[in-house]
């Protein structure tokens, strides 16, 4: 059985703190998990946690949302997307603001669901909002492979995939970042290997 419990981990971290330290959680999900679990309240106050740029939804550009909304204007198009994207603003509005076209927005948890949506709606063109970092990219590639195998021809991708090192290099090269450490995105290392982020 696993002997780790959350309290033990917090104790180990707090015992090691000897000075003020500023740590950036790169991934937006880390930020959410830390807030939800109230970890800031139990960690040594000398540990300052700051949010990083690793939420693919947060770093989605206005241009990308504008392009998705423009596609949605076409009556034969279905937009399939992760739920997080619905409220992200483009230059003037979000997908959520397009109420009159809401029935053509399909929210998915698993991106593989877009295969079913495309097959269930042969007269429509299904466009998946393919955002994310290195972790999501292979999923998109797997969906393309499966779509080819199944002979699905009405599935398209609006690609907005990004690479983590480029984003982190920008953060770390900022003169006044004052960062001592990063909590790196584990998902990215699962896909790319643990050396991938260290090279920065």
């Amino acid at each position: 059985m696993c002997s780790f419990v959350l309290k033990d981990i917090v104790d180990v971290i707090n015992k090691r703190v000897s000075q003020e330290i500023r740590i950036m959680e790169v991934c937006g999900t880390h930020t959410q998990a830390i807030a939800r679990a109230g970890l800031s309240n139990v960690l040594d106050p000398r540990i300052e946690l700051v949010s990083g740029p690793g939420c693919p939804v947060c770093v989605t550009t206005e241009d990308y949302i504008d392009a998705a909304i423009e596609l949605l204007q076409q009556p034969n198009v279905l937009i399939a997307t992760f739920g997080d994207m619905i409220r992200v603003k483009g230059s003037s509005k979000s997908l959520e603001d397009c109420m009159e076209m809401k029935t053509r927005i399909k929210v998915v948890y698993s991106p593989f669901r877009v295969l079913d949506i495309a097959e269930e709606n042969p007269a429509k063109q299904t466009v998946f909002l393919a955002i994310g970092f290195e972790t999501t990219a292979p999923l998109i590639a797997a969906i393309v492979k499966l779509a080819l195998q199944k002979g699905i021809k009405n599935l398209f991708f609006l690609v907005g995939l990004k690479q983590m090192p480029t984003v982190l290099e920008k953060v770390l090269s900022a003169k006044d970042n004052k960062l001592d450490a990063l909590i790196c995105p584990g998902h990215v290392s699962v896909i790319m290997g643990s050396e991938y982020i260290i090279c920065i």
Binding site: C2, F4, L6, A37, F112
Partner: protein, 71 residues
């Protein structure tokens, strides 16, 4: 969308597996796991198994996930 959850493979059919995630059964893409078989422990991210883990790691993830959900 960036959450990975520990799971156990219940059955496999083609490129997809039925997995048990903390008591809930769900479908997951399994082709990224080399020689996947029933009983394997994996991490599921956005409907896809992205890594095989051992039983000890599975227990640790489950314990932490449970504790975090109860905080």
């Amino acid at each position: 969308m960036c959450l990975a959850v520990p799971a156990r493979v219940i059955s496999i059919e083609g490129s997809f597996a039925v997995v048990d995630m903390m008591g809930f059964q769900s479908s997951a893409y399994i082709d990224f796991i080399e020689s996947a078989s029933v009983g394997d422990y994996v991490l599921i991210h956005a409907g896809c198994a992205i890594e095989r883990i051992d039983e000890e790691a599975f227990d640790c993830y489950n314990t932490l996930c449970k504790e975090l959900s109860e905080v």
